[in-house]
Amino acid sequence: MASLLIKNGRVIDPASRHDGVADVWIEDAVIKGVGAGLTAAGAEVFDATGLVVAPGFIDMHVHLREPGFEHAETIETGARAAAAGGFTSICPMPNTAPVNDSPTVTTYIIEKARRHAIVNVFPIGAITKGSLGEELAAIGSMRKAGAVAISDDGRPVMNARLMRRAMEFARSFGIPVINHCEDLHLSAGGDMHEGAESVRLGLRGIPGCSEDVMVARDILLAEVTGARYHVAHISSKHSVAMVAFAKMKKLAVTAEVTPHHLAIADSDMIPYDSNFKMKPPLRSANDVSAVVEGIVNGAIDAIATDHAPHAGSEKMQEFERCPFGILGFETALGLSLERLVHTRKISVAQLIPLFTTNPARILGINRGTLAQGAPGDVTVFSTDRQWTYDVNKSFSKSRNSPFDGTTFHGGPVATVVNGSIVWRVDE
């Protein structure tokens, strides 16, 4: 019987409203108990004195590039990077080759993960076949095979009628619809946020309104259909306001934000450095303040990384030719602490639900709590340990991060998945 005792950490479990120094005992991959002075004969002991012990973090928006783009990442390497970021569960988007639009691909990912991934993998299926926006994918069968949500990710459904049908169908199966909100006509050809910086750099813009018009459309459709609807990587001021409005109307609307959209604005970019190129783009300083405020006032429910590895050769090109996306796992907690907790916008106890209970609730998965009998997933982290991110030491296969060389105060220390320590920091 494998047994692990995490001693003397500050245990914060939002679901059971526990916040205090305690021990966490995990046996046979499930939480056996949380309490003071626990003992377990033969258990491996992890001393968490001075550290925070939280339910395992869930990243509900990632790209593992397998199948199809294994030169940039695999389920195995992506999972290792996730563990090093403190994540115990990750949800890969369906934009693989082939697209995860059928139970066959969903099963392939789950099986591959079962054998090679050191964290839990919950795939997200496509909304439409091939994510082409023409015909609904096999949503019910993917759900049955283990998909936890549907999304066409970077190729958002432009046809409002089809989106309505997708929401109705998803509601029948009780899974959320996640949308990367971007009106593709308004954003066409854009490489960065449209504003003073894009005008100065002579780069084509992706206007904030390209996100806003689709968030508006989808919230109206969510009301009509009663579907659970989730805005992926929200980045603009007006979109945050609209999600807050939907919540006021008691709609089942939720939203996530990435650590980089919380942390940096378009004016922080190194000009023409593709490590700053992603979708949605880094927005204006006003938008950054608005997403931070959205976390504070509860409009935004979750922090998700949108971890998007790209091989070096793809990022070593003219800015306009480079693909969108950056690495996210390993810097997520450091950035969130830096931007939200150290600035006293929210407390550590308020940060944890954004990585745990909230994504678990949105996805309807039995994770994100340290309640007795829950899966033994735990994230142990520090709120003050100083460390510097070296992207060349990343577990990811790719190196596209704008945060290489950034020094953080606090970050993951150990990651426990199903009762086993799968990663711990090098001291």
Partner: protein, 302 residues
């Protein structure tokens, strides 16, 4: 050694030094162009990823008049068309040990990106819709040659501002001297954020307002190749933003008309204005060589 990527990061003193030096390289009226030995034994590569006749020729002549060896490569003739990446192309050229690379590219920031990975100085001969520093310098030289003071000017720049690297570089340069710059075009080609480019910039969609009391009227080419959609109704451009003789009555009596070329007669400028006494277009072409000589000398010997 430092290249020249743009005007934005240049100081006024550096710009002035180039403009002053360019005078030494101008060919006096009636004389044949002179040759200088200043860059003997040095090599520059003209690497043009975009079609260009005047800028490429101008740089070639500038290099030759300074006795440098100049090699010109156009993208169509190089391995770029065989799928070689920009970085590989530049590394290959770099191995031939040129003293500078003069580069034109359709992607904004391509030279800036390359300069971070390459030790050889790069002179930007136009990057996408970003900057065209030597054009702004030769425009300033031309304005000075017409006896005007850059600090007291009212300059109207008219046309497709959004896609114009010439406009951006001119705004940066003229602003350093304190000029008033009016940018004018249809709203779809005139993003509001342009006013934040530099001090002294105002915007208008009304061509008459832009030209009123102007000392310099700069017309821009309508760059159909950079517009990815119809930014204004077909056929309406010349009626509202084409420069005609009646417009020039609104400008100062000694105002000059400039155009970076090549001009589209009947699209952004009428033949009457292009060929009038007020047109400084051919002076611009001539100054292109002397200004580029000054830039090459500064980059290679600076």
């Amino acid at each position: 050694m430092k290249g020249l990527l743009g005007i934005e990061d240049l100081t006024r003193e550096e710009a002035q030094a180039i403009l002053d030096r360019a005078r030494d390289f101008q060919t006096p009226l009636g004389e044949r162009p002179r040759r200088f030995d200043l860059l003997k034994g040095r090599m520059v590569v003209n690497l043009f990823f975009e079609a260009s006749t005047r800028t490429r020729t101008s740089f070639e002549l500038a290099a030759k008049r300074l006795s440098a060896d100049a090699v010109s490569i156009t993208a169509q003739a190089s391995s770029v068309s065989k799928g070689e990446s920009l970085v590989d192309t530049l590394n290959t050229l770099g191995a031939m040990r040129p003293d500078a690379i003069i580069m034109r590219h359709a992607a904004s920031g391509a030279p800036h990106f390359l300069q971070r990975h390459l030790g050889i100085p790069i002179i930007n001969a136009g990057d996408g819709t970003h900057e065209h520093p030597t054009q702004a310098l030769l425009d300033a030289r031309t304005i000075l040659d017409h006896g005007k003071n850059l600090g007291k000017l009212r300059v109207a720049i008219i046309g497709d501002i959004a896609h114009s690297r010439v406009a951006r570089s001119n705004v940066y340069l003229l602003s350093k001297y304190g000029a008033n710059i009016v940018l004018c075009g249809p709203a779809s080609l005139l993003p509001q954020e342009l006013r934040l480019l530099a001090p002294g910039v105002t915007l208008t969609t009304d061509m008459n307002e832009a030209i009123r009391d102007a000392d310099v009227v700069m017309m821009l080419r309508v760059q159909l190749e950079r517009q990815h959609e119809a930014a204004f109704p077909a056929g309406e451009y010349f009626s509202f933003y084409g420069l005609r003789p009646e417009h020039m009555k609104l400008a100062k009596p000694d105002a000059i008309v400039m155009h970076p070329g090549p001009i589209n007669r009947g699209r952004e400028i009428s033949s009457e204005v292009a060929d009038s006494q007020r047109s400084a277009i051919l002076n611009q072409v001539e100054n292109g060589i002397s200004v580029r000589m000054a830039v090459l000398e500064r980059v290679l010997n600076g």
